[in-house]
């Protein structure tokens, strides 16, 4: 009899203790949720399609609230949901500037050198697992495996002579190729700004020259010639500040390696 009583008391007591402890912890560790979060969630379509690049509508709502995503980031809800969210947040919703993907490498089969011939799956991930991260001498360049082409749902990417080319008209800036590229050389650039640096190499000038005929050698000629302070060479690679660039294309003309495209 006493065993039954003891076991019931002991387990019941422990259960009670844990229960009290947890409910106390629940008060202690309470996370304040912004009431606007629920409102934004309601304003979104709720389809959880992932077209915005987030895991679902709830994740996008959190990102919008945190300021990491624009109120008009939902491509499905369009203007209606963007306006509703703008009203909740109390901000003016502006139409997002059109962007498109850009492959920061110009070294096709003729322009860059290779250390071996890759014969295998047409997948950049597979090619990169081999010796030295791919067949190209340049460790930064496009592998030409076509992983971005395969992942593009809009047929905007095509492989031309071993290098990925983006069709600016077809590209919707969904960002799938940006995530897919194992070399991380695809970026989203403003659609209207065509002056871009088509190189990702952070090797020094000598190495770049040995590997590729269209690589950035960090000579800073572009930086010196830009009247608007829009081109800067950081860590041995030129980059265009799209905010400042006026597309005079002086840098593209002066570039000795012709790695700035227009």
């Amino acid at each position: 009899m006493s065993t039954i009583l003891l076991s019931v008391l002991a387990l019941g007591g422990m259960g009670l203790l844990f229960g009290v402890g947890l409910s106390y912890a629940g008060i202690m560790f309470k996370v304040e949720e912004d009431p606007r979060l629920g409102e934004i969630k309601d304003a979104l379509p709720g389809a959880n399609c992932g077209g915005c690049g987030y895991a679902g509508c709830a994740a996008l709502a959190e990102a919008i609230l945190a300021g990491t995503a624009a109120p008009n980031a939902c491509p499905v809800g369009g203007e209606a949901s963007a306006k509703a969210i703008g009203a909740i947040l109390g901000v003016e919703v502006t139409v997002q500037e059109r962007q498109c993907a850009f492959v920061k490498c110009g070294g096709d089969r003729n322009k860059s050198s290779f250390r071996y011939t890759y014969q295998g799956l047409n997948s950049c991930g597979a090619a990169m697992q081999l010796a030295a991260g791919g067949a190209k001498n340049c460790a930064y360049g496009c592998l030409g495996g076509g992983s971005c082409e395969a992942v593009c749902a809009f047929g905007a990417i095509s492989m031309v002579n071993g290098i990925a080319l983006v069709d600016n008209e077809k590209c919707t800036a969904c960002g799938k190729c940006v995530k897919e590229c194992p070399k991380k050389i695809i970026e989203l650039a403003p659609y209207k700004n065509k002056t871009r640096v088509a190189c990702s190499s952070r090797d020094n000038g000598k190495t770049v020259r040995a590997n590729c005929t269209v690589g950035c050698i960090a000579c800073k000629i572009c930086e010196k010639n830009c009247e608007y302070g829009a081109v800067h060479v950081n860590e041995l690679l030129a980059a265009v500040d799209y905010e400042k660039c006026t597309q005079c294309n002086v840098c593209a003309e002066k570039c000795p390696m012709k790695c700035i495209v227009k």
């Binding site: 076991s7 002991a10 422990m14 259960g15 912890a25 202690m28 560790f29 996370v31 597979a126 697992q129």
Partner: protein, 193 residues
């Protein structure tokens, strides 16, 4: 010295996944990416260390004293469930990013047999020493993390391989797990306690 040996034997020789076959569910479920696998490993380590400590205290100072040791299973499950809830609340408050990364796997640790397994093994083998129990718990968890991270690394690479259609996905993962288990058999006899 004994403690170090117990730790190493829990990590390598008696690896929870590879030779005791505990915690297979998260081992297969959360091993698609090294990053999430590592996160899961860290969460399991945390819970196992805490569970080892608390179950030792409860077993020695409540169950043994009241002579109701036959209730250890229920008591341990209760403790683990409570602990996981507590860890979840704490993480949600203190580190939302880690909480997000672990996602559903955190509450799933409640039903992870490796955690219950480590507490039961502690009770059977090391019920006389608090330190040894906790070290064994941490060792088992590190072993779990090692196995799941290695496995995730292999699976990440297999993604790009040319696998026959019939073997794609879980079949090849199970075969790989079997081969890994055989490889871990190589540690047998490394440590004699």
């Amino acid at each position: 010295m004994q403690v170090i040996l117990i730790f190493l034997s829990a990590v390598l020789v008696n690896n929870f996944v590879m030779s005791r076959f505990l915690g297979i569910c998260p081992f297969l479920g959360v091993s698609k990416k090294v990053e999430t696998a590592f996160g899961m490993g860290v969460a399991v380590t945390f819970v196992m260390a805490l569970a080892s400590a608390v179950t030792f205290l409860v077993y020695n100072f409540i169950l043994v004293k009241l002579e109701i040791t036959y209730l250890y299973n229920i008591a341990f499950i209760l403790i683990i469930a409570g602990l996981v809830q507590l860890v979840e609340m704490y993480l949600k408050k203190s580190s939302p990013t880690l909480y997000q990364a672990l996602g559903i796997y955190l509450p799933l640790i409640t039903t992870n047999c490796a955690v219950l397994g480590v507490t039961v093994l502690n009770m059977e083998n090391y019920s006389d020493s608090f330190l040894t129990s906790v070290v064994h718990g941490v060792g088992a968890a590190v072993g779990f993390t090692l196995a799941i991270v290695l496995f995730a690394g292999i699976r990440e690479r297999m993604e790009h391989n040319n696998i026959p259609a019939a073997f794609k996905g879980f079949p090849i993962a199970l075969i790989t797990a079997g081969l890994m288990s055989i490889a871990f058999l190589g540690f047998t006899g490394l440590i004699r306690l």
